[in-house]
Symmetry: C2
Subunit: 192 residues, 2 copies
């Protein structure tokens, strides 16, 4: 509604970035406050339920960033294969830059919390399902049948998530580019 960057938004943006890079357990509230420059006394005012509440909203923000980026890149191409090639090329470039990987993957926070923080696990599960739904919907736009699109949607989600981990570890976007090529083949083959 209002364009102004209020304290809550600043905290949330910083937390989102740190959670993505260091994970939930690796990020302290102190660090979030320090790096955001937000008033130290304000964190429990804006997030009465503490760290877990911040994480839930951060996951929601990651979801938004991924969905927006993907939707934009995946639309208006001449085929599903071309759409995902274009999208993943952009994702790979982000890993090459190595600065900011905001909104790229929730895999870290998902696997960290799956056994230990049920509410966070559930949030991540819902986001992954949104990713699958997005990919399936895109495939249907390019002519895939619903059943086939849903089947491949989860595969695309897994491939991208896994390739993000490899790219983070290798410190470059090459793994993304490699799976992009194979995904393209897969899509051309499945295209009816």
């Amino acid at each position: 509604m209002k364009g102004k960057q209020n304290t809550k938004d600043i905290i949330l943006q910083t937390a989102t970035r740190l959670f993505q890079r260091q994970g939930y357990n690796g990020t302290g509230l102190n660090q979030i406050i320090e790096e955001s420059g937000a008033p130290k006394g304000s964190i429990y005012y804006h997030f009465p339920n503490g760290k877990e509440e911040i994480a839930i909203e951060a996951i929601s923000m990651m979801r938004k960033l991924v969905l927006e980026g993907a939707e934009k890149d995946l639309s208006g191409k001449s085929s599903a294969a071309e759409a995902f090639e274009y999208y993943l090329d952009n994702v790979a470039a982000i890993f090459d830059a190595r600065e900011c990987i905001d909104g790229l993957s929730i895999g870290l926070i998902a696997s960290e919390t799956a056994f230990t923080h049920e509410r966070l696990r559930y949030s991540c599960e819902m986001v992954f399902k949104d990713f699958q739904t997005l990919y399936a919907g895109i495939l249907m736009q390019y002519g895939f049948k619903r059943e086939s699109a849903e089947e491949i949607g989860i595969t695309i989600a897994a491939m991208i998530e896994g390739a993000c981990i490899l790219s983070i570890t290798y410190q470059n976007g090459n793994p993304i580019r490699r799976i992009a090529k194979q995904l393209s083949l897969l899509l051309k083959m499945n295209q009816e």
Copy 2:
């Protein structure tokens, strides 16, 4: 060499399990000691460099477990597609059981430490490359050309890693089974 379970091995096995479930930052030395039942004063005797040293050896153990399991399941089938279908079916069953996911994935510890613990990141990078090499080698056993095998090897590593994250989050092995089907198609298509 000796079959006896010494204290160091007990600590290492417990640490490996905990790191896989909770990550590096989510696992404390106290918890490792408590759950292993190892003598509390012995941890810095066996691992003078502390937590990071334990993690490096734990990563090495995860590597061993994955490679052994994969190598066994992937050998002696009649095609690459059949081999990976068999292997991934076994992996999926482990996630259904939800008890022990030892030696299933190093993605969590890799992405947790990529930006913050260079030595651990490097260890994980080497392990991922071993995975790729294993998969490529298996594909060559089933008649793939070297170049093609290496190209697909990294894709398989990414798919499995990503599907493991989805399966951990969803608390069942279905994502693994889904990618197994698509991987099978991909292999049949690439097979010369």
